[in-house]
């Protein structure tokens, strides 16, 4: 848990997970797949994430060592909440004024919360890149205070590359299901990001078909098409 400012911020194309921007920490979960993350602010970190760095649809990861193997658990920001403890004094306000560090359950100031849906896992190679991405549901539970880092585009790309070099988005149905009314939107943002990462014609065509499928499904769900 480094407090130093990441050196690698500008290089979003990096394929390594080292020195990525920490954007928040886990405060709670709604289900095995759905976590709430409090986004760091200036009091938490010297280098707090800017609005664009923890935006809707931003892929993130949690770096964890499980049974001696380093893993990343990859997720995506699919929802945000603003909490203002002063607003009608309705929010939890248990933190002491002198408490510098954020303490879960003790909200002392205005806070931004993000919903993170888990997408899958990958192993971390010796050089810090990821390998063997899996879009299966992760079996492990994350912990409160686990640091959530911003996933660079290069890593996102690696996470979405199948063994045959094709695009892999096998979590899609789960994500659409979990993210509810925002599912289609977050999926479309992810697809947009993947378009940047997979520029070849062949990949773009596949993305086109999937994008149509998502749009079609959400239109059907909303009853504007059948």
């Amino acid at each position: 848990m480094s407090n130093t400012s990441p050196s690698d911020q500008s290089d979003s194309q990096t394929t390594r997970i080292t020195d990525c921007l920490a954007i928040g920490s886990i405060v709670s979960s709604n289900s095995h797949m759905d976590y709430t993350v409090e986004i760091f602010n200036e009091t938490d970190r010297e280098r707090a994430p800017g609005p664009a760095e923890c935006e809707f649809g931003q892929p993130v990861f949690i770096h964890k060592t499980i049974q001696d193997t380093e893993h990343v658990i990859v997720g995506v920001i699919y929802d945000t909440h603003l909490v203002d403890p002063d607003q009608g004094r309705s929010g939890p306000r248990l933190a002491q004024g002198d408490q510098k560090q954020f303490t879960p359950g003790y909200v002392e100031e205005r806070t931004k919360l993000a919903g993170v849906a888990l997408l899958g896992t990958a192993e971390v190679a010796a050089d810090g890149s990821i390998e063997n991405p899996s879009h299966q549901m992760p079996r492990w539970t994350l912990d409160v205070e686990d640091i959530v880092e911003r996933c660079p585009d290069g890593v996102t790309r690696a996470f979405h590359t199948g063994t045959d070099g094709g695009i892999l988005i096998a979590y899609m149905e789960r994500l659409l299901d979990l993210a509810g009314s925002l599912g289609a939107e977050v999926m479309l943002v992810l697809l947009d990001r993947l378009r940047e990462s997979f520029p070849t014609d062949e990949h773009q065509r596949v993305l086109d078909v999937i994008e149509k499928d998502v749009r079609w499904q959400s239109s059907v769900d909303r009853g504007v098409m059948r």
Binding site: G166, L168, I169, R205, V206, V209, I210, D213, Q217
Partner: protein
Amino acid sequence: MSSFGPSSESTGDGGKLVGTVAGPGDGPNEFFIVTPDEQAVKTGEFITYSVIVEGEPQDVIARVTNREQARGLPETFMADPNVAPETVAGTLGVPTEDIDLYRLEATVIGFYDTQMQTFANPRQLPQPGTRLRTAPDKMLEAVLPNIGVDEADARTTGGEVDLSSVEVPKRDGLAHMGWLLNREAGAVDVHVPIDEFAATHLAILASTGSGKSYTAGVLMEEMMKPDVRASLLVFDPHGEYDTLAEMRGEDIFEGESGYQPEVEYFDPDNLQIRISELSIGDVMSILDNPSDRMQERLDGGWRAMQQRESRTWGVDELLVEMYQQYGEDDSSVGALEWRLRRSIQRNDLFTTDVNVPLEELVAPGRCTVLQMDTLSRRDQQMIATVLLRRLYQARLAAVRGREDDPNYDGEIIDFPLFSLFEEGHRFAPATGEAPSLSIMRTITSEGRKFGFGLGIISQRPSKIDQDVLSQCGTQVTMKIQNPTDQDAIKNSVEAAGEDVLRELPGLTPGQAVVSGDSMNTPVLIQVRKRHTQHGADSIPATQEWRTAHQRHQEQPTRSESADMGGGESSGEQNLLGED
């Protein structure tokens, strides 16, 4: 009577497990099947399951009539033809292997009853969960055509009754037409009982170019084989059967005691009609619109002539008779004279002489082809009318045992006949405007009793007389697109079910539905290749132009000298390609 028990599970002879009964279908004899395998079962396939009927296990055969996908990749995965749906599925982690499920609809045909020698309806649908197999090839060979397999035929050396053990190709009197289209080529051969269609008549119906004449050729080959030795008479208005003579000298047609099929061709010179053979109705149909008075005069004259001993009278004698009866200056007889001379006396088709004796025309082991391509339609009809009438009388006389009758001086044919008509609608038209229609109706309705079968070939079923068409007990139907003609088939062909009719527009040349008396259930077949050449292939124009052009180039001066005639000009010979 179970023809495949657990033992046949491992044999390659059909019997492949294809699916499970899901539940009853729409009709009383229909049920649904679920199958995971796209390849295993196509529409038209015969499948089987076992049920207990009156205490005995029976293999019930059913036909798959419809097939649709019950589960598979969503259509949205197919939004871009450049992207395989499997690629999209792979991207989304959707499994693509073994996920497709198909829902089949099947109609029960029945189990083969060796007593009745046809299918019997078990009157019960298979239970949901019943497993279905493809019906074994050899079993289908034995039970699909109406070849009368009985219990003794199906008994194995071990004493069991096994329909798959019947050796169908070894049975006599069957026409090997081809094989089931749904199975591999030659896997389930279809042998049609010749006795059946020769007695109850045959119709071959299809659009031009679908393989009618070809299929007729196949049947004729089968009928000329040594185990049949039929007497065939072909009315060939297009000269399509010139190649049948190739049967002679082919091993497959040779039989014991030196049998070889005879193929005899008769051209119009040999087909003359003796005027005294014409009926008054025939003459009326030949003459242009005779008035009532003329008809009456002709009737009187014709009757008087028919009373006479002589059978060699002609128009002159008839006119003398009529002038005698009605007076020298009867204007109606005068008008008749002009018509009779023009239509009968000056037509080479008619003669006063003795015409071809029937025993020279037809014989067992002989295929007689009447080459009528140079004749007018009316003359073709006249020949058919008179010949059929004579043949029918001769058959009647034989069956009624009149050869010993001193009062009978007509002809006798003591063997059955089968006569084939190309352009059948020409001889038995729905409009009724053909002198041959009446005898065609008589033969199709009565011929069964007298061993006289007809085969009607036509590309316009809707233009055939419905009485004649509906009497054709066996139907070979090939590609037909015209809805009027499809309706004609629906109306007159009893056995043609909806599921069979649906197939017709999609057939390709050489594919046919065989239905009716010769079959226990209609089947879709691929007609086999002919042993002899097919004589009706269209002339390859570009090739003939090229070779003709080359010929002309090579003999630049011939065109002038050829006209000089006589001499030793070899030009003509060269033109015939005999150099």
